[in-house]
């Protein structure tokens, strides 16, 4: 049943949604001009009313935010073109997990509400599908991160006070560079020093 508010909102259309509606043969409800109309959920059947549409957006946000982990080598090649890296804390996935927890809670609330009126909620399961997909992705990447976390003890590494073993290695132009050469005093006469960084490689 269309309310007056809904009729007002149908006058505002967005271009992506018009295309989506055309592709789907006009079976999709007109929507409010919200952020949700910019995302692929435009192709999903929607309930009339803006509040529920915004609720559909959150699981998708939570899902795509998983790909925003910086430093995660497995995801970087896959998804670095999808969205820019957010400046989240790169150490723990707190922001990602929160972004997933909020839509899960909202979904739970909505499904509880919809269970009392099955006719009304027909075909509105996109959010729960997305949430399930997000959960699977979280578990998958959690396992990946755990497997990377086991580092060797490296008890043989030189500690403070020990002499650093000398070495000679080629630099990026193929010229050999030795540790003793690097530690020699610079021409300016300042006492030198060296920060030696070992990194994982495989860029």
């Amino acid at each position: 049943m269309l309310t007056r508010r809904h009729r007002t909102f149908t006058k505002i259309r967005s271009l992506p949604h018009q295309i989506a509606r055309h592709l789907a043969g006009g079976r999709i409800q007109p929507r409010t001009q919200s952020l949700a109309s910019l995302c692929p959920c435009a192709l999903l059947p929607k309930v009339a009313g803006s509040r529920r549409e915004r609720g559909e957006l959150l699981p998708l946000l939570g899902h795509t935010s998983l790909y925003a982990q910086p430093d995660s080598r497995a995801t970087r090649k896959l998804t670095h073109y999808l969205i820019p890296h957010f400046a989240l804390t790169s150490n723990v996935l707190w922001a990602n997990l929160t972004l997933f927890a909020i839509p899960s809670f909202l979904l739970g609330a909505r499904m509880k509400r919809n269970s009392g009126r099955p006719k009304f909620a027909r075909g509105k399961s996109a959010g729960s599908t997305l949430a399930a997909l997000t959960l699977l992705t979280v578990i998958f990447f959690g396992c990946l991160n755990l497997s990377f976390a086991q580092l060797p003890l490296s008890t043989g590494a030189p500690s403070a006070g020990q002499k650093a073993p000398d070495f000679t290695l080629p630099d990026r132009d193929g010229k050999p560079v030795s540790l003793s050469g690097l530690l020699k005093r610079k021409e300016t006469g300042k006492p030198g020093g060296l920060v030696l960084i070992f990194y994982r490689g495989y860029w």
Partner: protein, 116 residues
Amino acid sequence: MSEFSARGIRVVAISVDPAEVNRQLAEKAGLTFPLLADPEEKVIRRYDLLHIRGGPKGVDIARPAEFLIDPTGTVRWVNLTDNIRVRASGPQVLKVVDQLGVGARPENPRRAPRSP
């Protein structure tokens, strides 16, 4: 980086990547310090930093570590992180450098730029 050279400190990075990859990386990221190639892991083993099957497809790589070495060749500070995502940042290492007194005092202290 200029903060390091103001104190006479050089920075060098080592990994299992070969020289060509290092060249591309240095160009892409605009790195000015030398990237040394250790594909046979000789130096990585010598420093006991080998991470067996730690890389993609199960290759051996180096675990991340930072060493501060003074001009006599003695290690003054080591940072072996437990979490591969947590590395010592440029300003952090600079603080250690100043605390331990390695290298010269800079003439005019400026705000430390982000070290690559």
